[in-house]
Amino acid sequence: MPLEKQKQQYNDMVNRIKPKPPVLRNVFWAFITGGLISLIGQLILSFYRSQGLNINDAGAATSATLVFLAAFLTGLGIYDEITRRAGAGSIVPITGFANSMVAPAMEYRAEGLVFGVGARLFTVAGPVLVFGMVAAWVAGILYYFFR
């Protein structure tokens, strides 16, 4: 039997046997959690607006506040408990971005402040910033030449 076909059969078998995620339940919790985090964000945003910040500053302050809360809850081990149930609901919001920085940094602290905490903060945030910066740069360049 050719190797390719064997591989194909093996992959088919794995896909048949591996447990199917309970999609409906996951989607439900992702919606509720993602919605709640956004709702909290909206409340914080409205608070900063009522303090007289303009829309950009209020947005930035809201992000900073949410990031602080997420870093704190990750430190306490609470955020990862939430993610176990909420899945993408707590990964996609900016709080999930903060969680993706703190969790590995805590985990590898024993490797020191430079290669442990300092480097691991960017395990996920690094790629996110790379792709975000390149995409934004391309958007700016295209705007420059075509507008």
Binding site: T33, G34, L39, G41, Q42, I44, T74, I94, M106, P127
Partner: protein
């Protein structure tokens, strides 16, 4: 009303991420989700299609990481408007500077202050 739309749109954007994780055969990790959402947000924003969502849902559109991509892309475009070509380099990060610095500072301090469980 804005609270309602923040909840619904914020939840819906997360559902897209959940479906990508559950229904595709590739192993989609949280890192892939975050990278994908930032990139998608920046692209959608560059075509001018993300701002209407922000106008409707407020934090429902800006709290998910696609909003971070939107912030970066609009920053770069506004940078070009003000500074020409140089703005494409500086505008994005300038717009997102508060969030990025907050994430690094609070992340670093939190990693120092807490011990992982287990």
């Amino acid at each position: 009303m804005q609270l309602f739309w923040a909840f619904v749109i914020g939840g819906a954007i997360c559902v897209v991420g959940q479906l990508l994780m559950d229904l595709t055969n590739y192993k989609v990790t949280p890192a892939h989700i975050l990278v994908g959402f930032v990139t998608a947000g920046a692209v959608i924003s560059a075509f001018g299609l993300y701002q209407p969502l922000v106008d409707l849902a407020g934090a429902g559109a800006t709290v998910p990481l696609s909003g971070f991509g939107h912030l970066l892309a609009q920053g770069a475009i506004n940078g070009v408007k003000q500074n020409g070509l140089l703005g494409a380099f500086g505008g994005g990060i300038s717009a997102a500077a508060v969030g990025i610095t907050a994430a690094v500072v609070f992340g670093y301090l939190s990693a120092l202050a807490f011990r992982p469980k287990g």
